[in-house]
């Protein structure tokens, strides 16, 4: 029985890997420009430096796809970790103040230091996101029941609102900050090239590896703090490590791509629906599902408004909200 189930799960992983390759293929071949397969093949194997199309493929679509895969994986894993460690099915890095923290840090550094290039202010976004996450969790943990779903959502909303207020102040007094912020805050893979990829890749990869190995610990936490402690797990240290990993993963992803909503929220649910509640499997499925959805949304955005594009953040926001609302409305989740 178990063997059959495991076989099915392994088959699922293989299927998802195949889907991911398909998504990568589409991400490289589709776009707001029509580029033939032959040109793409040439771009990858036999570069002609004078061809614009080949440059687009090599210097824009490939890094964009790579970032989509690594950041998408990070967001999916981050969301799973967050939901597991807070035992809150509605946890999402965005709702937890990560986006607001990154935005506030970015405009602050633009205003104070005149920095205007993404590869530079990305570091500050990273820092801001991490600090905001820590603040939200700390605030929500006060009180008898600890960090319940609604408390976390509200603490996240509170911290986010405060940070956005600060961001507004800066943005209304500094035109450069306004200009940078209004593009960054939509969430997009456009304009992200190799520098961004190389900057974020170490964090995203290391974080993802740590996350994937956290399955056992998460299964322990899922039993409840008391049971986990009885079974010999150091709950506090696990939580700290998990939150640290989430901060690294989501901080890097958000500072690179801007605020991406709902990916961290919906992917763990999908993974759980497919593969059950064993977090070792849920993490693996999330790691593959998230980049697939991310790249698909990005491709839709590129095709929907040729020769321009609709940012991936907008596509995910429009498609993700109904999923979230559906989860709240039609499941037992909203009954505390």
């Amino acid at each position: 029985m178990l063997a059959v189930a495991t076989d099915r799960r392994v088959a699922g992983i293989a299927g998802l890997l195949a889907l991911l390759l398909v998504a990568v293929f589409f991400s490289i071949t589709q776009g707001s420009r029509e580029i033939s397969i032959v040109t793409i093949w040439q771009a990858l194997t036999d570069l002609d430096p004078d061809s614009t199309s080949q440059t687009v493929v090599r210097e824009m679509r490939v890094p964009r796809t790579l970032i989509g895969v690594t950041a998408g994986m990070a967001l999916g894993l981050g969301g799973t970790l967050l939901q597991a460690t807070t035992r809150n099915p509605l946890a999402d890095p965005g709702i937890m103040g990560v986006n607001a923290g990154a935005a506030a840090a970015i405009v602050a550094v633009i205003m104070l230091a005149g920095v205007q290039s993404l590869p530079v202010y990305i570091w500050f976004g990273f820092l801001g996101a991490g600090l905001a996450l820590v603040a939200v969790y700390s605030i929500a943990s006060f009180g008898r029941e600890g960090a319940t779903p609604v408390k976390l959502a509200l603490a996240g909303a509170a911290v986010s609102a405060g940070l956005y207020s600060f961001t507004s102040t800066v943005v209304l007094s500094n035109l450069d900050a306004l200009q940078e912020l209004r593009f960054w805050q939509v969430g997009s893979l456009a304009g992200r090239y190799y520098p961004v990829f190389w900057q974020t890749m170490p964090f995203l990869l290391v974080g993802s590896v740590v996350a994937l190995f956290a399955g056992r610990a998460l299964n322990g936490l899922a039993l409840g703090d008391d049971v986990a402690a009885t079974l010999g797990q150091n709950v506090a240290r696990t939580r700290l490590l998990v939150f640290g990993t989430v901060a690294v993963l989501c901080g890097a992803a958000v500072s690179a791509c801007g605020p991406i909503v709902f990916l961290g929220l919906a992917v763990p649910h999908l993974a759980r629906a497919l593969v059950g509640t064993d977090y070792r499997w849920v993490l693996a499925y999330s790691a593959l599902l998230a980049p697939i959805l991310f790249l698909v949304a990005d491709v839709i955005g590129r095709l929907a408004a040729r020769p321009g594009e609709v940012q991936v953040g907008v596509i995910l926001g429009i498609l993700g909200a109904p999923v979230f609302i559906g989860l709240v409305r039609f499941s037992k989740l909203a009954q505390w």
Partner: protein
């Protein structure tokens, strides 16, 4: 041996509480009026209290003072007063209806609809003045209706309403963000400025509309609020006591949404006032039921004070909404911590 409270004792205790309620409400009204006068006093020409009061009552005889008070500054002061009152009352109603001290039209997605409609108008059409106000109102009503319909499942529970409100807000904000990114810099700046909220831009129509809405809505809320006390006992008890629960809720929710809609139409989505006016009023009033008038006066005081700070105390003049946010967030976080300690609100 426990003392038995006799009926006269209870009556006296109740009378004391009611007196406290009246005194506190009048004190809040006095503070709001004082801030109103202060707002009229300051500007490029500083007026004295006597001059302002003279102008307001029509007893003064200096036409230049009258001009400054009535034509230049009255609009801002009146907007702050009325918008603050509307937001304060609306916030209190939301908190009572959703049975959660942290419920607020800002979070629950009502203002996100207004924001989307207004930003669309600013960026796509473009419009200004009266058009913007209409769009804000329509947007607020549309998003509220959407949230209500989505959250309704044999009635409304507070948590579901709040969470679905957050979902709807994310949806509208994704679209809003898209439009702001697509716009040219000039329109984007105008949109982002509007989104912060300011009392400086209301026209006469919006102000008079707000006056009318408050004049009708406040009595309505007070009348509908009587069965609300029964609602505080919980839906089952309230139904058993004969209160027509769902209609009462819908009526009060409608008043709250209309207040927010017109307030946002006049001044944009000023954050946090709706959230904190109610708890402040309730804390001052103590265990007296109601508090609608007090919440209105407290809200007015908050907006008037914020506007004064935003206009005169900051290095550069900023829109009102910036100050309320910077003041409101720490208060909200403190509220979360205190509420969490007591085990409520989650």
């Amino acid at each position: 041996m426990a003392t038995v409270e006799t009926t006269p004792d209870l009556g006296r205790a109740r009378a004391r509480l009611v007196r406290r309620g009246v005194v506190v409400t009048m004190a809040a009204a006095a503070v709001a009026f004082a801030l109103f006068v202060v707002t009229l006093m300051f500007g490029s020409v500083r007026l004295s209290v006597a001059e302002v009061l003279g102008s307001l009552t029509g007893l003064g005889d200096d036409p230049s003072v009258d001009f400054i008070v009535r034509d230049l500054r009255m609009s801002v002061a009146a907007t702050a007063l009325l918008v603050g009152a509307a937001l304060g009352i609306s916030g209190l109603l939301f908190q009572k209806l959703l049975a959660n001290p942290l419920a607020s039209p800002d979070f629950v997605g009502v203002t996100s609809g207004a924001s989307l409609f207004v930003v669309t108008t600013l960026v796509v059409f473009p419009g200004s003045g009266w058009t913007l106000s209409m769009m804000a109102l329509i947007g607020a009503v549309v998003s509220s209706a959407l949230i209500y319909l989505l959250a309704w499942r044999d009635g409304i529970t507070g948590f579901r309403f709040i969470l679905i409100g957050i979902g709807v807000a994310e949806f509208f904000m994704a679209l809003t963000g898209f439009l702001i990114a697509k716009a040219d810099l000039f329109n984007a700046r105008a949109a982002m400025t509007w989104l912060v909220g300011s009392v400086g831009h209301a026209g006469r129509t919006e102000l008079w509309a707000l006056v009318v809405v408050l004049a009708i809505g406040v009595p309505a809320a007070l009348v509908l609020g009587r069965p609300l006390r029964a609602l505080e006992l919980g839906d089952d008890a309230a139904t058993a006591l004969g209160a027509r629960v769902e209609w009462c809720r819908i009526g009060l929710l409608a008043v709250a949404i209309v207040f927010v809609g017109f307030a946002v139409a006049a001044a944009g989505p000023i954050p946090f006032v709706a959230l904190i006016a109610g708890p402040i009023a309730r804390r001052m009033l103590g265990p007296v039921p109601g508090g609608i008038l007090a919440a209105g006066f407290v809200g007015a005081a908050i907006v008037l004070a914020s506007d004064y700070a935003a206009a005169h105390l900051l290095p550069t003049a900023m829109p009102t909404g910036v100050v309320t946010g910077l003041v409101g967030a720490p208060y909200l976080i403190w509220l979360l911590i205190v509420v969490n300690r007591e085990g409520r609100g989650g």
